[in-house]
């Protein structure tokens, strides 16, 4: 696979480490989080057969975490963005 890094251009996927569903960004922080919320965040995945947004880490590159939109049936990649930007857009900050 080739991941088209938004800053570095196409790179072989073997330079990257895969983590999984982009929802892992949405960690329920804070003391008032319930065990169930935390359980669901960590364990339950949509696992779609089709378009999937997922986290990849450019370990053998610039160490950026990326959000890759990839079809799990065809492996076609339609979008790649820096995860930091996605995280901010999803409301994460400090």
């Amino acid at each position: 696979m080739i991941i088209n890094h938004p800053l570095l251009g196409p790179r072989d996927a073997s330079e990257f480490v895969y983590k999984g569903d982009v929802a892992l960004i949405d960690r329920p922080d804070g003391m008032e989080t319930s065990l169930d919320e935390m359980h669901d965040y960590l364990h339950l995945r949509d696992n779609p057969a089709g378009e999937h947004q997922e986290l990849w880490y450019h370990e053998q590159g610039d160490r950026s975490w990326l959000v890759v939109t990839r079809n799990t049936l065809t492996h076609e990649i339609t979008n790649v963005t820096l995860a930091r930007d996605v995280a901010r857009a999803r409301g994460r900050s400090r």
Partner: protein, 192 residues
């Protein structure tokens, strides 16, 4: 214990060899300093680099150069400064940045090989996974990648002159990978 002073020993013993037409030598004379750019601090770092050394901020996958100093793009919030090795430089960089960036000397984390000579781009086809076509990777380009299971930075100085950086702990394995590649290239395409 004033009578003892420590000496710096090159990672690869200052290796300098020729394989066919290609020369491989260790560059133990270079220093590498990481400058991390604080949140919202990019302009300040850029100012400092420009005003102190006339170094522009490098674009991704590129190197900017002024005299014997270069700045490599390292990550979205990191610049790597490459220059002549001296004990003072980290201090100099820290002084120049004056708190505008976080400075970490990385000189000793890396072993640096200079590899140059005719045919090098073809030889590197069996080593470097990047597209080294001059249109894609011209002199002044630099990229981090992995080769033979080792992290590396590949920097093109001239059309047929590269710097290869590898972690200092794997320097021996890295050198082996490079020399094997060049030896094979010589055997497969003698004199090319």
């Amino acid at each position: 214990m004033a009578e003892i002073t420590l000496t710096s020993i090159p990672c690869l013993g200052g290796v300098d060899l020729r394989i066919g037409a290609i020369r491989v030598l260790e560059r133990d004379d270079l220093a590498l300093i990481s400058v991390a750019v604080p949140q919202e601090g990019e302009a300040a770092v850029a100012d400092a680099l420009r005003s102190t050394w006339d170094l522009p901020m490098p674009a991704p996958q590129r190197v900017s150069t002024a005299g014997d100093r270069s700045a490599l793009w390292g990550a979205p919030d990191q610049v790597l400064l490459l220059g002549p090795r001296s004990t003072e430089w980290e201090g100099e960089v820290a002084a120049a940045l004056d708190g505008k960036g976080y400075v970490t000397d990385q000189t000793h984390a890396w072993a640096i090989l200079e590899v140059r000579g005719p045919g090098i781009q073809a030889a590197f086809e069996r080593l470097v996974p990047l597209d080294l076509d001059p249109e894609m990777f011209p002199p002044g380009a630099a990229a981090r990648t992995a080769l033979e299971h080792m992290a590396a930075i590949v920097l093109r100085l001239e059309a047929e002159r590269f710097l290869l950086l590898s972690a200092s702990s794997t320097a021996q394995s890295f050198l082996h990978a490079v020399t094997t590649t060049l030896t094979w290239y010589e055997e497969i395409a003698p004199g090319a």
